[in-house]
Symmetry: C2
Subunit: 371 residues, 2 copies
């Protein structure tokens, strides 16, 4: 009998928390009253169990629930169903952690490349990494490819599509991928520095596969994917079918009642994200610094045999904050600065060079947190 442990924060009065926790354990396993179960094996081996209840604040409890690994079937959709299916509908419950046995870690496999793989791709063994985004959507392909070339000439490690750019009339996927891949290749010839272009892979599973093939044929090595938009199970299929890509995960549509640290730091890693974009503190989003640090730590810290995932703080980041952010996150980090470069307009090349130089320069002075 193998069990996994899922951890929840439950808001409840002290006199009701025990009942609430047990109700959650039933909801997340057999989903019926115990009185309806006549089978001893089901009672012993299938019904989830409340393992711990701990008060963390007035009216808020941390609850550990042991869930039988057997019930997950070793499949991503059913695994998510078991840890946060029906109880995602309970407004007083948040999912904050999972502790998984080695069998499940091995089943899902984690990143195929991880931090070391991405570093090798862009030829940057030690310093912090840089990334940026081509935006806004609505620009024609030639404008996007020009922007991509400029970023590459400035020496950015990864240039990604904005996650809103897919296959709209203004810039068709197949055309853009070829144009941008050519742009980074030409820039590399000019500068000797390798930049990876990461197209945004989105769509229904059938469309996703067709686009992944187009990208592979064009020589793409890194792709951007929003797992919660395409669906975690589709992400798992994609990673399995196209293991040569390094996957840069985007958090879009990931808001809700799963703690960001768990979803973006741990679950995306579990399912194969080599790098994970998350919204940095002090930008357009509201995660507090401690949550950002915990997220980066979840992505990088030892976890069974899973490779570490590269944390990518993003979201309204400013060039002026490069040193502060690298002090905070350490060198096993990739910064993602987009809009704050693009406001330079005609001086985009110079401003991007400044970004690249700041990040490279920081590497020589500070000591990062290595995983």
């Amino acid at each position: 009998m193998a069990w996994l442990t899922a951890t929840y924060l439950i808001d409840a009065p002290a006199d009701l928390i025990e009942a609430r926790a047990h109700a959650l354990a039933l909801e997340q396993s057999v989903e019926c009253p115990l009185a309806a179960i006549g089978d001893e094996r089901v009672l012993d081996e299938i019904v989830a169990r409340v393992a711990a209840i701990e008060a963390v604040a007035e009216g808020r409890y941390r609850v550990d629930v042991d869930i039988a690994v057997e019930t997950t079937g070793g499949e991503p959709a059913q695994f998510m169903n078991m840890i946060f299916g029906n109880c995602s509908l309970w407004e007083d419950v948040r999912l904050t952690g999972v502790d998984l046995p080695p069998s499940l870690l091995a089943k899902f496999g984690g990143p195929r490349h991880g931090i070391a793989g991405i570093r090798a791709l862009v030829d940057a063994p030690e310093r912090a990494l840089t990334s940026t985004a081509m935006k806004p959507q609505g620009l024609p392909t030639d404008a996007l490819a020009r922007m991509c070339r400029t970023f590459a000439l400035a020496g950015v490690d990864i240039v990604k599509d904005d996650h809103g750019i897919v296959d709209q009339p203004a810039s068709r996927f197949a055309e853009r991928v070829v144009a941008c891949q050519r742009a980074v290749a030409e820039a590399a010839q000019a500068t000797g520095k390798r930049t990876a272009y990461a197209p945004n892979l989105s769509g229904t599973p059938r469309v996703l596969r067709a686009r992944a093939q187009i990208a592979r044929d064009a020589g793409v090595q890194v792709v951007l994917v929003a797992p919660m938009l395409i669906g975690l199970p589709a992400f798992v299929d994609l990673v399995a079918e196209f293991p040569d890509f390094a996957y840069l995960a985007h958090p879009s549509a990931g808001g809700g009642r799963i703690a960001p640290e768990l979803l973006f730091g741990r679950l995306f890693r579990l399912f194969g994200a080599d790098a994970t974009i998350f919204t940095n503190y002090g930008g357009r989003f509201s995660y507090p610094p401690a949550e950002c640090a915990a997220l980066a730590e979840s992505a990088r810290a030892p976890w069974g045999n899973l490779r570490p995932t590269l944390p990518v703080p993003a979201g309204g980041m400013l060039l002026d904050r490069v040193d502060e952010l690298l002090d905070f996150y350490g060198l096993d980090t990739m910064l993602l600065i987009g809009g704050n470069l693009l406001i330079a307009r005609d001086a985009l090349l110079e401003r991007t060079r400044e970004y690249v130089a700041k990040v490279a320069g920081h590497g020589s002075a500070a000591v990062g947190i290595h995983a």
Copy 2:
């Protein structure tokens, strides 16, 4: 230029709501400062626009944002990205509504069968419908098939797998589908009443397709799918590839910052759900009656050329409440009662007959809300 309108509830102080609303419009379209945009067409035709801001409570505003249809690319993942991608990460924002132009409604297509199609399948043109679930997971196939036969002999319209039953060692999908399909066929021969068995389709897209083929080959006509577990885009592919199935949508993993009425009543319908299960008021879940009524109404009300979706209240429902619930929801409703039948154990057949009789009896007295 076609625009869709997305409606949000935003929590903000009065002096900040305007800035917050405009920030959301940028976040959900170009995702960069306006100062970074030099292209006139993008400013005119791509940047989303705040259409209305209305106070609904102290510190809470209803905000309508017009989003260019072009930006959705007519694709489900990107459509979700545009209406609730990055701003799903804003804890002060909820998505509560969408108003879509006919072009998008036609693109996604809605239910292929709808209420009339499901009624035809189970030969019940007017009365309210009945459904139940085989549970708990962990039982072997023969026990589940026996349960399925008992439900069918009692005359239930749709008998579904519990949504936690997938392809675990205790009951393999391929074996269970054949056994349960045979059970309902035999029961129909004995009673003359048609019952549909709805297996739970889950898995990554590749697995999902293989299971759908197994189900089709076995003669299955109705399937259970949790769109938020398999991913909305995978759901869209499934409906397109297997249009002959009637789809019974399950809300698992659908909790978060999209209003239940919108997600389960409207978006599931948009993407092809013929029936939509939701958590009823007064059961194990906390939706208030008004929200349940609005959800049922969203599922059934006229919406462009989309067929109506059958509302299926569920979640800790009691046999004693049949009349109350049918008075509340009307006859174009399918009740889903599981655990409250199963507690009868050896008297399952009798208790299920009582359920079926209550629902059928109600039909002769009450007037339902027809869509």
